[in-house]
Amino acid sequence: MIHDWLEFIYDYTLSEVDFFLRFLLIILIGVPFIKFMGDMIERLIAQYYSSQAGMLAKKAIQYGVSILMALMILDHFGFSLGPLLGAAGILGIGFGFAAKESLSNFISGLFLIWERPFVVGDLLQVDLERGVVHSVDLLSVKLLKLDNTFLRIPNAHLMNSVFINITHFQIRRYDFVVGVTYDNNIKDVLDLLADVANKNLYVLNEPEPRIMFKQFGPSSLDFDIGVWFEKEDFKAIKNSINHEIKLRLEQEGVEIAFPHLTLYSGKHSGPFEIQQVTPFTDSNKTREEHSRLGEASLDPSEAYKTDAYTAAPLGPDSTKLEDEIKE
């Protein structure tokens, strides 16, 4: 009797251990196998096609084999797959309604992959956000922003919005405006800017730099400059050409314009005369002395402290000041 019991326990333990071992074997071999296969296929496809396609193929393989493995384990535990699949069908309908957005993202993702408007590594601008494409997945596109933050954009949003792929082509054009004062000769400035552009290390001489007079601005003669460069040189060109233009304009005595504003008091009058107020320099007199003598300190921050300031009339005496200005 005891022997039978022992035999039963032994057989049961053996079968349990065997069962557990087989389960462990599926997990231990299956998981590394999925990872290995995924990585290998990703590398292979990335080599011949694109890293984006490789990434997708890896995910497809990993999800597919994982589902297969889960079914094998369920089968191993004795679950019948028929009712499970039936339940999955019913659940699928409910899931479809609930996951409408996800489905939309999924279909948009397929379109994005098929259309390939960008690839991993491209610099993308979506709305006001800019970032380097980190991955293109079935549900979303992940961007690494330039400040090293992570941005996830649902594929459906990307499909419905306007976005710019900044680094799609090998070369780009950097456009900017330079304004110089009105006393300069337009042709001379055009020649000078062309010379700076042609001598810059990062400017491509083909396609030719586009340098042209833009407009008579409110305070300046404006020139449009468009120089072509290799997309990797963006930072270098931005720093170098602006620096070189300023240096060269200074060397040639060409003044870079800044906004000017001329005020007129009326239709027939000339512009207001600008008067420079000389600061008070008689340091021998103390503030108390000024106050005593009825003089206001010219330091605006200190002025309110003097008696003269508080007593300064804005009424009749102010007309004297106006008369002085008119003279």
């Binding site: 070369i171 290390l201 990062y202 400017v203 491509l204 083909e206 396609p207 072509w228």
Partner: protein, 260 residues
Amino acid sequence: MIWQETTLNDLEHISGKFGQLNFRVQNYHDEWRVAYELLPLPTEDSSKNFDDVENEEFLNRFVAKVEDPKIKVSPTVPDRPIVIRTRKSISILPKNECVFFLRFPCWVRFSVTSGKVETKICDLPSLLLPKTWYGTVQQGTKCYSSRTRARRKPPTECEPYRIIVPVRMVNMDKTVLEIDHFCIPVSALEIHQTESGTLWGTMGHFEYRGKLFPSRISFSDGFKEFEPNTTLVAKSNNPDLLNKGELVGGILTNSFGIQV
């Protein structure tokens, strides 16, 4: 002669000026220290002699421990194709052919040799060429830009840092072929040297068959017709391109062609 192989024992160095390039290479224990700068032209005077090789601003360090080390300085071609513009466009009338002698600056290759093993350290330009683009703004090739007089006779003056490339242009079409600039896939070229030090590159052949048909392009050692006594000093960096014999212009429009 700059192109030579020199034994460099520990802490020994070589230095020189070549075109715009001012360099110094030192064997520093198991490191090769290459200091260089590109001088503005004219290049008679150097602003630095690199006595202080520790100056990290100009220093490039390469770790390579070798027995009986030698440093080899050899000419090589630039790392990009070169677009050579003619000063004036040239027209080749139908059923005519001619040879143009184009020149472009070579680069300098520093390699460490030990026995038969040669390991490249770095390639440096002898003259700084402006960058350019060959193709449309959507598709093309990154190139360097240079100018040519498109001479019809081999240059007589010896400029040791320039490579002469003869290009035979054949116009097989019934229309006039107008040439504005050449794009030379320099990676395909071998470099040969004459006794006087002049460098010659492999000769290119370009056969124009009209706008509807692809042009034929090939390379050969046809330069020996003009300079028979030369020795090979640098093999092609892209022998596949060189050995194909005959290429179809349509495929290689972006690496070798002419602006028509």
